[in-house]
């Protein structure tokens, strides 16, 4: 990777074809909606092909949620319960959100890798706008993550407190969460040049989002004031609260407020992500 860095620096400018300063939109030209939708589909199609080829990734991506459910949940649950609800049942919705959070953000950040390997270069010079490419990526990431969520939702059978009929509604919450988080990952990935930032993002963004989302504990006034403040600011809180409300009926906020909050955050991230992606070099 060092060589990749070195190539960019120090050498005469313009030696490699730099993918830069692309005019992302051009008021003079007629926007061909058909071509743009084709572009979205093409990028999505590519992500699905890659996903199909890396089936082992699907399996490994649900290992960590399973460990949280059984090794952590089983252990803590042996001496703790949440009111009438068994602890494992209680954290199940939170673990679903966690897997969506991790899968989505890292899918988005993966764009750094694509940039590094020049895979993206050929796509970026195509007569398709950056925004369409961005949406193709978001949809690809969501498909990827929702397949994992679907696999994890099979585990609901093991948790009697979960209302199985409500799983489709929960998946709606998870889908919007996924759109938001993939967009956030792409937004961050657009700004990074190297993979060294991954650890930093994981430590300072993804884990704090997870731990302060109420995925592992109930959001109530019993929480210390500062933590309650953080929890309320965390967009993932509303997604966890919504999914938990839908599946086991234990929500701290009205479900519509939860959905509104996460929808708002997703919109924000789409705007930010597509803007940063369009300016990406």
């Amino acid at each position: 990777m060092g060589g990749g860095n070195g190539k960019g620096k120090g050498k005469a400018p313009g030696k490699r074809l730099p993918v830069e300063e692309i005019t992302p939109h051009n008021p003079g030209a007629r926007l061909s909606l058909r071509a743009e939708l084709g572009g979205v589909y093409a990028v999505w199609w590519r992500e699905i092909k890659v996903f199909q080829r890396e089936k082992s990734r699907v399996v490994s991506s649900i290992i960590s949620p399973i460990m949280w459910l059984f090794l952590f949940g089983g252990g803590v649950g042996s001496s703790v319960s949440m009111g009438q609800t068994d602890y494992q049942n209680f954290i199940y919705p939170g673990v679903l959100c966690m897997s969506v959070l991790f899968g989505s953000v890292f899918f988005g950040l993966y764009i750094v890798w694509d940039k590094k390997l020049d895979v993206l270069k050929a796509v970026l010079v195509a007569p398709v706008s950056r925004v369409s490419i961005f949406f193709g990526k978001v949809l690809g990431g969501c498909t990827d993550v929702m397949i994992q969520a679907l696999l994890l939702s099979c585990f609901a059978l093991l948790f009697p407190a979960v209302n199985l009929w409500m799983i489709p509604v929960a998946l709606c919450f998870l889908f919007v969460t996924s759109v938001a988080m993939v967009s956030m990952g792409l937004a961050i990935g657009s700004m990074f040049e190297s993979l060294e930032g991954f650890q930093v993002i994981s430590t300072f963004l993804v884990f704090p989002l997870f731990f302060s989302s109420g995925a592992l504990y109930p959001v109530s006034d019993k929480l210390p004031g500062w933590l309650l403040g953080v929890v309320r600011l965390n967009p993932l809180t509303y997604s966890v609260d919504g999914v938990r409300g839908v599946l086991i009926g234990q929500n701290s906020f009205p479900l519509l407020a939860d959905f509104g909050a996460i929808l708002f955050f997703a919109t924000l991230m789409i705007l930010l992500g597509s803007w940063l992606f369009s300016r990406m070099k």
């Binding site: 400018p13 300063e21 030209a29 195509a126």
Partner: protein
């Protein structure tokens, strides 16, 4: 019909900060020709191509490609060009065919034509048998060929090739040029390429432009440029040559004594060499050389294009090795 150049640039320039990467280029490239932009690294070749593909925004000047203004109609320009980058840009998780399908969708190749066109182009580059293998398993030459195929898939008016043979072994390089010639002929595409392998450019290009410090310093067919160099070069190793006698010969253009040797520029050496040798006694050694584009470059710039080459290819090879190590 009015003959119009497929690419026209007028005072096209690009600055990176204070550095003038491209310093006002006026160039007309005709429909159907194979045009080579030659020059050392950092001369502005890649930046010029970048501007014509609407990847790099010009600082000043203008250009049209297939009748579309590169500043005002970038989408139309993009649809009209195919690009093969210097660095490999294949998606190595996909198969050869899938790479082409992706490209066809991005360039809105109509669905009904897609399959037929992909088969056609795969046949052209002899990759049909390996089309359904993941491209990670392809050799360097095969990857390049697939990239050429991809660049031509949507029938662009102009195919840009940035250093198409860089990093390939000599045999593969020769074959790649054959494919380029064949494709240009069969697809009737205008090809604009950059290279610093002068002798290869000589064999492939109808016309070349030599570019140095962002300016075109020579333009014409390889033969015309070499002719300007003034014919054949003969180097004689001889003690006390009769310089005046040699200079008096009508077909001798230039005589440059250099220690034990003299460099003589001749017109049509194959005819006049025997006579020349007959009037110079005691010749120990004769060497004749047909001028190459590299000589042209040397004469125009005072530098050998190769001086700058070695360091760069090293860097590129390292980059390739790292690509392979990364495995993705």
């Amino acid at each position: 019909m009015l003959r119009m150049a497929i690419i026209e640039t007028r005072a096209l320039a690009k600055k990176f900060g204070k550095i003038k990467a491209v310093d006002g280029i006026d160039l007309d490239i005709e429909r159907g020709e194979i045009f080579g932009l030659l020059g050392p690294n950092g001369a502005g070749k890649t930046t010029t191509i970048g501007m014509l593909c609407t990847i790099v925004k010009p600082t000043s000047g203008s250009a049209t490609l297939a009748g579309h203004d590169i500043m005002k109609e970038p989408s139309a320009v993009r649809r009209s060009v195919g690009i093969v980058f210097q660095d490999p840009t294949l998606d190595t998780t996909l198969t050869g065919r899938e790479n082409l399908i992706l490209h066809a969708m991005l360039y809105a190749v109509p669905k009904g034509l897609r399959e037929k066109r992909i088969d056609e182009i795969l046949t052209l580059v002899d990759l049909k048998e390996r089309a359904d293998d993941v491209t990670r398993q392809y050799s360097g030459g095969m990857r390049r060929r697939l990239e050429l195929a991809r660049g031509l898939l949507h029938r662009p008016a102009v195919l840009f090739l940035d250093e198409p043979t860089l990093g390939l072994d000599p045999q593969t390089r020769a074959r790649t040029w054959e494919y380029i010639k064949k494709m240009a002929r069969e697809e009737k595409t205008t090809v604009v390429l950059t290279t610093h392998y002068m002798e290869e450019a000589e064999q492939v290009c109808d016309r070349v432009g030599i570019i140095d410090h962002g300016k075109i310093i020579a333009l014409g067919s390889p033969d015309a440029l070499k002719e300007k160099m003034g014919g054949y070069l003969v180097v004689l190793r001889v003690k006390n040559p009769p310089l005046d006698k040699i200079r008096a010969l009508p077909y001798v253009k230039e005589v440059k004594p250099d220690g034990d040797t003299i460099e003589i520029t001749l017109e049509a050496a194959h005819i006049h060499l025997p006579e020349l040798l007959s009037i110079v006694p005691g010749v120990e050694c004769v060497e004749t050389r047909v001028p190459t584009l590299n000589d042209v470059f040397l004469k125009l710039t005072g530098r050998d294009i190769r001086d700058e080459e070695s360091e760069d290819s090293g860097g590129w090879f390292t980059a390739v090795a790292q690509h392979q190590q990364r495995g993705k």
